[in-house]
Amino acid sequence: MVRVKLWGSLRALADGEEWVEVEASNFKELLDALSEKYPGLAPQIKRGVSLALDGVIYREAWFTKIGPENEVVLMPYMVGG
Amino acid sequence: MKTIPVETTINGDSTEFLCNADESLLDVLRDRLGLTGAKEGCGTGDCGACSVMMNGRLVCSCLVLGVETQGAEIETIEGMAKGEELHPLQRVFLEEAALQCGVCTPGILIAAKALLEKNPDPTDTEVRYWLAGNLCRCTGYDKIIKAVQTAAAEMRSA
């Protein structure tokens, strides 16, 4: 199981939880599992999200390995100027 | 609209062109003569990107009518280097990274050259006020001012 931190405004769509747990070994599995477990999150995930793995921000990168020892944080998809 | 024939001298070469009465010198240079070094950043004299010399004076070519240049001497960025030899300002701008995107650079070089011909040893403040009509959005002007001063020192000792 991987623990994922959701940002505040997503929590209402995930039973009010800040941290949710899903079965996943990489980002893709994580996002799929999140969409399945919390259908309310699916539109946001479809629009695009970033993920922070131990403090490093990834914009996509489905096959990035993750495990229970990692800090995984869901973040909005980033744009720059 | 009837076009008007104009004879002028551009970068030392006598040049003839036809233009409409309401066409700016900038449009003539860019659209009729293929001299695209002068840029149109605003068309209203607020940015200086179209700076050229006309009869020894620095002007915004967007604020001059093409027909007004009958018999005039025009100098543009295309005439600043002598063959493969860059003008000291051009060379120092390169060496000191006084440009980023480079779109304001032709206008600034022309304006800086005009300043140094009038005042070979300006203060930083004088350079800044002289160049106030040349907007640069990339550099914050710092390296531009320093490059003008380096080139000025070099030109004074030459």
């Binding site: - | 609209m1 309401d22 200086g48 002289w130 106030a132 009509g133």
Partner: protein, 287 residues
């Protein structure tokens, strides 16, 4: 648009009088070309007068100077004697636009454009400058203050144009100064401005004072009681306070994208005060 370079002032006046469409006179072009670009105006006739006799000359006349209508700001600034006689007028002209604009912009153009914020106008007004106007029926002299009649408007009739501006002689111990407020240090239109012209006696007492304001009313204002507030003083605090309150009372500005009524009024007083001190020092007064 037709572009014409008439052979004489008279021919120009006739040409302009007889034009049925919109006509414009090309002096420095720094306003009219901007208007063309913005499609604010599409003239049918553009008359270029720069080549006509005297248009680009500064000539000494009766202790003062006659300045051709096409003399640029840069040329004016390079004229040492004129600058010494009317430093405020010259600094006003030199504040118009950038180095590039200075190569082209003219006092006459700045005046005829009719902007209440024109930088050269307040000091011309305090100088008592007189415009020489050519028209289809001949030449007349008009005090500069009577030329602008409102934003974008002037008192010249169809076919009339300015050929020169005369700045009169000055006694010793006299000077002027012009200040404007702009948000940046360059490249802006004045939000408010003030010109002060002073004459002093041997003791440094002001014997004559003129104060004019820009951008605080539909036209440049000559504020008589502001000038009178300084007469008889050495610009002591009381005189300056009277100047500032006369200036503020005279202001009748608008609020727009460049400034508010309050801001224009307040800064006009501040600028008049500061310009008065500069003029006083230039005239040889000891503060």
């Amino acid at each position: 648009m037709r572009y014409v370079k008439p052979e004489s002032f008279e021919a120009a006046a006739t040409l302009l009088r007889d034009e049925d469409g919109i006509s414009r006179i090309l002096a420095g072009g720094t306003d009219v070309l901007v208007q063309l670009k913005a499609e604010m105006v599409e003239p049918d006739l553009m008359v270029d007068l720069k080549h006509l006799p005297g248009m680009r000359e500064i000539v000494a006349e009766d202790g003062g100077f006659r300045i051709g209508a096409a003399v640029s700001g840069a040329e004016l600034g390079e004229h040492a004697a004129l600058k010494a006689l009317w430093p405020g007028v010259v600094e006003g002209v030199e504040l118009i636009g950038s180095s590039q604009v200075q190569s082209r912009a003219t006092m006459a153009g700045n005046l005829c454009t009719g902007s209440p914020a024109g930088d050269s106008v307040p000091a011309m007004v305090t100088a008592g400058a007189v415009a020489r106007v050519q028209g289809p029926d001949g030449v007349r002299d008009v005090p500069v203050i009577d030329i602008p009649t409102g934003p974008g408007k002037n008192s010249l009739s169809k076919g009339e144009f300015i050929t020169s501006i005369y700045l009169p002689a000055r006694p010793a111990r006299a000077a002027d100064a012009y200040l404007r407020f702009i948000p940046r240090t360059e490249m802006d239109i004045a939000v408010s401005s003030a010109a002060v012209s002073l004459e002093l006696d041997a003791d440094g007492v002001v014997t004559s004072a003129q104060v004019a304001l820009g951008a605080v009313a539909p036209t440049v204002l000559l504020v008589k009681d502001a000038g009178e507030a300084l007469v008889g003083s050495k610009l002591d605090e009381t005189a300056i306070a009277a100047l500032v309150s006369a200036v503020e009372a005279a202001c009748n500005p608008i609020t727009d994208k460049r400034g508010t009524i309050e801001f224009r009024t307040k800064t006009a007083g501040v600028l008049a005060k500061r310009a008065a001190h500069i003029a006083y020092t230039r005239a040889g007064g000891q503060a």
